[in-house]
Subunit: 219 residues, 2 copies
């Protein structure tokens, strides 16, 4: 009974995800789904990304949180359109919520590169397709190098792993080799990047990835 309902929920989600993909295709936009713990640095990553890509690619952001519009406001301060979704007690975004947010972007000049910042959570968001091009995991060094092994569900599915807060690395016992080895056991193909979103150190690989994705998509 429980399994059947979950199946129905996932099927309904999949149908909205398909509609999102159609919508994105129509506007030649590409969408990434950022997933990480609360405080892993997803919004900071976006702020620096926007700074780097301003005037190069038009960006839009969909923010998911249980409550507050804090993150959408942080993004809007960077001069980029952002839509906040408040889930109440919901632990992840679903494709229908994202569909409504996508539809609310101005029709005249739709963003070419869309980021969804999911609810801070390493578990539930991994199971829901939002119609994105790729899932991106965001993991901060302050969380510890054991998190890849302890939350394999997400790390298996992502196309990119961004390890953040590298400026704090020397204050922690996070071992990059341990984390990398654990990640490669689960995921051999994904891009693995290490960044410090305050200084922008390590951003070149991430920005190159985004540009290539955007170019390939807008052809």
């Amino acid at each position: 009974m429980k399994l059947r309902v979950l199946k129905n929920v996932l099927e309904a989600n999949e149908s909205w995800a398909r509609q999102n993909r159609n919508l994105l295709r129509e506007t030649r936009a590409v969408m990434l789904n950022l997933i990480g713990s609360p405080g892993s640095g997803k919004t900071a990553l976006l702020e620096k990304t926007i700074e780097r890509l301003k005037g190069v690619i038009s960006i839009g952001v969909i923010e998911g949180d249980l409550a507050t519009a804090k993150d959408a406001r942080r993004i809007q301060r960077e001069g980029v359109p952002a839509r906040q979704i408040n889930t109440g007690s919901g632990c992840h975004l679903n494709a229908h919520q994202v569909h409504r947010a996508l539809s609310a972007f101005p029709k005249g000049s739709p963003p070419g590169l869309l980021f969804v910042e999911n609810v801070g959570n390493l578990v539930c968001p991994a199971e829901f397709d939002l119609g994105e091009e790729a899932k991106v995991a965001v993991l901060s060094v302050t969380e510890g190098d054991d998190k890849v092994e302890k939350y394999p569900l997400l790390f298996r599915k992502v196309r990119v792993l961004v390890i953040t807060k590298m400026d704090l690395l020397r204050h922690t016992d996070f071992d990059l080799e341990t984390a990398t080895r654990a990640f490669r056991k689960l995921n051999r193909k994904a891009l693995l990047l290490t960044v410090d979103s305050l200084s922008g150190r390590g951003f070149s690989g991430w920005i190159d990835y985004l540009r290539d994705l955007y170019r390939a998509n807008s052809k």
Copy 2:
């Protein structure tokens, strides 16, 4: 339909939670449910707590993780019995899982103080009663001072908020006053503690709380 199923799930959980409470009453044990993001420092808090209470109170730990027995092994190294629950893709512990773990502790010398370290997640674990005496939120300063407002569900319910990783405070922009104000808007009665689990700084309030709880319960 979805709501009804959730109601059934929560009702079944409540019945197991009641059984857990009975079991705990029989052995005069008290159980706390630790909830926080992945990497918020729940296990480190427990390690230092065990160090401080060794020989004073007999402790037992139930560890929840999607995968690996890493945390249970960390606790066992401290000389304390620990049971690991692996949830697979489950985003929280339920009362039935905890019931089985409780039943596996040695009957002869049951622990007087039990900690459940829930799956790292600020959302879903808040909704499930495990039969615990109190929920304890664990929030690290590296996660940011906006997390209380963004994840109100949990912070409303807890009896204690432990802010961890205070040794890293000066390397972050975490503002204690902002976090405290946000917390007090949601929860006027809970105990609020700030600790550094490496040095043990700030632990006296936490240890006092645990001793008082244990004493009141074993009377």
